[in-house]
């Protein structure tokens, strides 16, 4: 029911969408996932023309959305939207919020609209809040009212723009439950979300967006289970990276340590893992015959807690960690004790040691 071809959106010099193509069929539940700033929300907002695309084509049914002759407000009536910040009409009660559209736009009798609004409120579990004002509701309640407000227009599709991102963690589940319920009843939905487990559970298809395009799409089992492309894998496993470059024997070890500690704190690494990393880095650098060009890469996968440390140094082919290589045996033993696996490879002019840091328990 929605076809998108070559959709581009540019803000000044920044091209946010670089040619998005997709097809959304009736009854599908599409999750849009991906790192922040890759255009997921912009793409969603293009679908109901809250953002005007720079180029491309969007068909709603068979109506071209970007055609000047198209009655856009009429099309929007068929497409509900739920916002990250709820956007309930602050001057109206819950009932007023839900009935404004049906009465003003669909020509419903106020009494009928109110009766329907009460049904929908019961559906989202807020029948007792009909007379309340938005500022008297919690975030989760507001978002459920916003969903009821969408449903009151009898939409053919609902667009969710990060519906739980602004919520207290304790309120996420009540909103997700309502959306899950809608999915069960066959509502067509497009959901921008960071709730991976939720996306995996309810989607019929998942779009992984990165770099302004749909980088990979597929059924949730594939995207979350065995994604094909490296960016998708990195995202799904939630791999955080830190690259450190040393260009001089007289490097500043304390600055290096500070950066590693910061990385650990930001991604909530277990304290022991951070300590292990600090000593590993120090020993590895001490073992290097030259520190004129050493690159250290840290990768932390949030999903399984794996921490990988890659040390790549330019120089004569030698594995500094090989036993009996003439180097400091104590240092090697120390490194072995803190890792589960150590690999060596020669890549071009560089010696590459890959260390899998032992899991903290």
């Amino acid at each position: 029911m929605i076809t998108v071809r070559g959709l581009r959106k540019r803000f000044g010099h920044l091209e946010v969408l670089k040619g998005v193509n997709c097809e959304i069929r009736k009854g599908e539940v599409i999750s849009l996932i991906g790192p922040s700033g890759t255009g997921k929300s912009v793409f969603l907002r293009c679908l109901n023309l809250l953002e005007r695309p720079t180029a491309g084509e969007i068909l709603i049914g068979d109506q071209p959305l970007l055609d000047p002759a198209t009655d856009v407000p009429a099309l929007r009536r068929r497409m509900g939207m739920v916002f990250q910040h709820f956007n309930l009409y602050a001057h109206l009660t819950v009932l007023g919020n839900i009935t404004l559209g049906p009465v003003r736009l669909l020509g419903r009798e106020p009494a009928a609209a109110i009766a329907r609004a009460r049904e929908l409120l019961a559906l989202v579990g807020l029948a007792h809040k009909a007379e309340a004002y938005p500022d008297q509701l919690s975030g989760g309640q507001k978002q459920r009212v916003a969903i009821a407000r969408c449903l009151a227009m009898d939409p053919e599709i609902i667009l969710f723009d990060e519906p739980t991102s602004a919520l207290d963690p304790t309120m996420v589940s009540e909103v997700l439950a309502v959306i899950r319920n809608l999915a069960r009843h066959g509502m067509t939905m497009v959901i921008v979300t960071h709730e991976m487990a939720f996306a995996e559970a309810i989607s019929t298809r998942v779009f992984y967006m990165d770099g302004g395009e749909i980088h990979e799409e597929g059924p949730p089992a594939v995207i979350f289970g065995e994604p094909r492309r490296p960016l998708t894998q990195a995202f799904i496993r939630r791999i955080r990276r830190l690259t450190l470059q040393i260009t001089d024997d007289a490097y500043d070890l304390y600055a290096l340590n500070a950066e590693i500690e910061r990385f650990g704190a930001r991604h909530v690494l277990p304290p022991r893992t951070t300590e292990d990393l600090l000593s590993l880095v120090e020993e590895l650098l001490a073992l290097q015959p030259s520190r004129a060009d050493v690159r250290l890469e840290l990768a932390y996968a949030e999903r399984d807690g794996r921490v990988e440390l890659v040390c790549s140094a330019r120089g004569e082919p030698t594995d500094v960690l090989a036993p009996g290589s003439g180097a400091d045996d104590l240092a090697i033993r120390l490194i072995r004790g803190r890792t589960e696996e150590v690999r060596y490879a020669r890549e071009g002019e560089r010696n590459v040691n890959t260390l899998l840091v032992r899991a903290a328990r």
């Binding site: 407000p73 929007r76 939207m81 956007n87 009409y89 602050a90 009660t93 404004l100 736009l105 004002y133």
Partner: protein, 510 residues
């Protein structure tokens, strides 16, 4: 101690302080005659002939310029000025109500007085001169002088009927006071008024008297608001450059008055009181200021005019403010720019100046009711402020509100009207209330363009009673009550549009 660059500034400050202290400490000595005026504080009506005379003769004196005769009288009787220059005829009238004034010099100078016409006038001035000659020959003029100046008449005699032709607009100054011109029972009266009435009748034209301050007369004549100045002006050199005078009607005798206890050789001022009216019992003063000669009617009429101007200006200002706000927020740069310039101008120019520009410049040659001019001027001023209030209120409504409406299928206009505007209006109400009250109070300056609103009504009463206390207090009380009523009414509206659970916060009356 002090760094040297600061020292000159400190010296300047000290000098200024000494100057202020010195002025404040000036010992009020006794006065003997004109020679004592050299360094005195002299009160006079701004734009009057005394102004020129004093500037020439007493360049060292400190001149205090007031808007009208009663203010001059008050300045002397309360000791704010040492002496005042007044017309001898006025003093006779003033002496009745202000017993502690005394004449220091009965005739400081004498100069001819006459009506004034535009310099290029070729018909009205000869007609006036001929009319006055006829009046003198028939003896009517002498009778008039006798009645007003010697017998102290207060009401107009029966006058010849008014004509039918085009309206003759003549300028007078009601605050000049009797016997020249005053207000009794809500109507103009006095020597000048009778003269003007007779002149209009001789031309067979109906008369309209435009009440302007002395300083505003010549400007009004030049801009065509009035055809001639019927309040008799002293023919000074300065004025001759701007207007053409009629033949001399009467000799103006300027006299110098001072407080009785300041005159040398006078009895010790044991009974002298700081204000002239304080000696009378309060009931009598209230009666004199509010009841006698139907003065309460002046106040009621003034109140009505004030209300009309305020209501019209508020309505016009609100609607036009909305228009300016729309321009200010328009997607078209030209409209945005125009609205910004408008706001910049109207917020930067005092409303009184705007009022006078509209009255004396823009509408100079159309005869629009000054009440309407005032409503437009205050409306234009309020519109600039209201436009900015609205804009900030609209901008303070979260963008998501409009987006939610648009995403829900409303057009932008519908979403604005149904969702953004109600929230913006609710926000703007408290500041709007303040603006309406301040507009209402600002209307007190429209006396400048010959509108008799409530402040001006108080001024006119003061010109008859020379009592500052009661008229000012009554005026203040009326403003206070009305401002409170406006606040109360707008707070009711505020309360109505505020959801019940948010109401404790609003400062509305219960």
């Amino acid at each position: 101690m002090l760094s040297s660059p600061l020292r000159p500034a400190v010296h300047l400050l000290l000098a200024a302080l000494l100057l202020v202290a010195g002025v404040g400490a000036a010992e009020p000595g006794t006065l003997r005659g004109l020679d004592d005026l050299t360094r005195a504080r002299i009160a006079l009506v701004a734009g009057s002939s005394h102004d020129e005379h004093v500037a020439r003769r007493y360049p060292q004196a400190q001149v205090l310029q007031f808007k009208a005769t009663p203010d001059v009288v008050l300045a002397v009787s309360t000791g704010k000025a040492d002496v005042a220059f007044l017309a001898l005829e006025s003093v006779r009238e003033i002496a009745r109500t202000t017993p502690n004034l005394a004449i220091l010099v009965p005739e400081a100078y004498r100069s001819p007085m006459g009506a004034a016409f535009r310099p290029d006038d070729t018909t009205l001035r000869p007609a006036y001169n001929a009319f006055v000659r006829g009046l003198r020959e028939s003896g009517v003029y002498e009778a008039m002088q006798q009645r007003w100046f010697k017998e102290g008449a207060r009401d107009l005699p029966p006058l010849p009927p008014r004509g039918q032709g085009p309206v003759l607009r003549l300028g007078i100054t009601a605050s000049k006071g009797l016997p020249w011109t005053g207000v009794r029972n809500g109507a103009f009266t006095g020597f000048e008024v009778e003269l003007a009435e007779r002149f209009a009748a001789s031309l067979g034209r109906p008369l309209e008297l435009v009440d302007l301050d002395v300083s505003g007369q010549i400007a009004a004549l030049a801009s065509g608001r009035i055809e001639a100045i019927a309040c008799l002006l002293v023919m000074t050199e300065e004025r001759r450059k701007r207007v053409a005078f009629s033949d001399e009607l009467i000799a103006f005798v300027a006299c110098v008055v001072t407080r009785q206890d300041r005159i040398a050789g006078a009895a010790p001022a044991a009974t002298a009181t700081p204000t002239p009216e304080a000696g009378l019992p309060l009931g009598q003063r209230i009666r004199a200021n509010l009841v006698d000669e139907g003065r309460y009617r002046l106040i009621l009429e003034g109140l009505f005019v004030t209300c009309v101007i305020s209501v019209l200006a508020t309505l016009f200002g609100t609607v036009f403010g909305g228009v300016v706000c729309a321009g200010r927020m328009s997607p078209r740069p030209l409209l945005r720019q125009a609205a910004a310039v408008y706001i910049w101008c109207l917020r930067g120019v005092p409303v009184l100046v705007v009022l006078m520009i509209i009255y004396y410049v823009l509408f100079a040659s159309f005869h629009v009711s000054p009440i309407l001019v005032a409503a437009v001027a205050f409306g234009l001023n309020a519109a600039a402020y209201i436009a900015e209030m609205l804009r900030s209120a609209i901008q303070s409504v979260d963008r998501g509100q409009l987006e939610a409406g648009v995403a829900g299928g409303f057009t932008r206009a519908q979403a604005f009207r149904l969702i953004v505007l109600p929230q913006a209006l609710r926000q703007v109400l408290p500041v709007y209330k303040g603006e309406v009250i301040s507009l209402f109070k600002m209307t007190s300056v429209v006396g400048y363009i010959a509108v008799q609103e409530i402040t001006k009504a108080g001024d006119i009463i003061r010109s008859r009673t020379f009592d500052a206390f009661i008229p000012l207090l009554v005026t203040a009380a009326i403003y206070l009550v009305l401002a409170w009523l406006i606040a109360w009414a707008l707070e009711r509206v505020e309360l109505r549009v505020t959801p019940p659970h948010q109401r404790q916060g609003t400062g509305a009356a219960p």
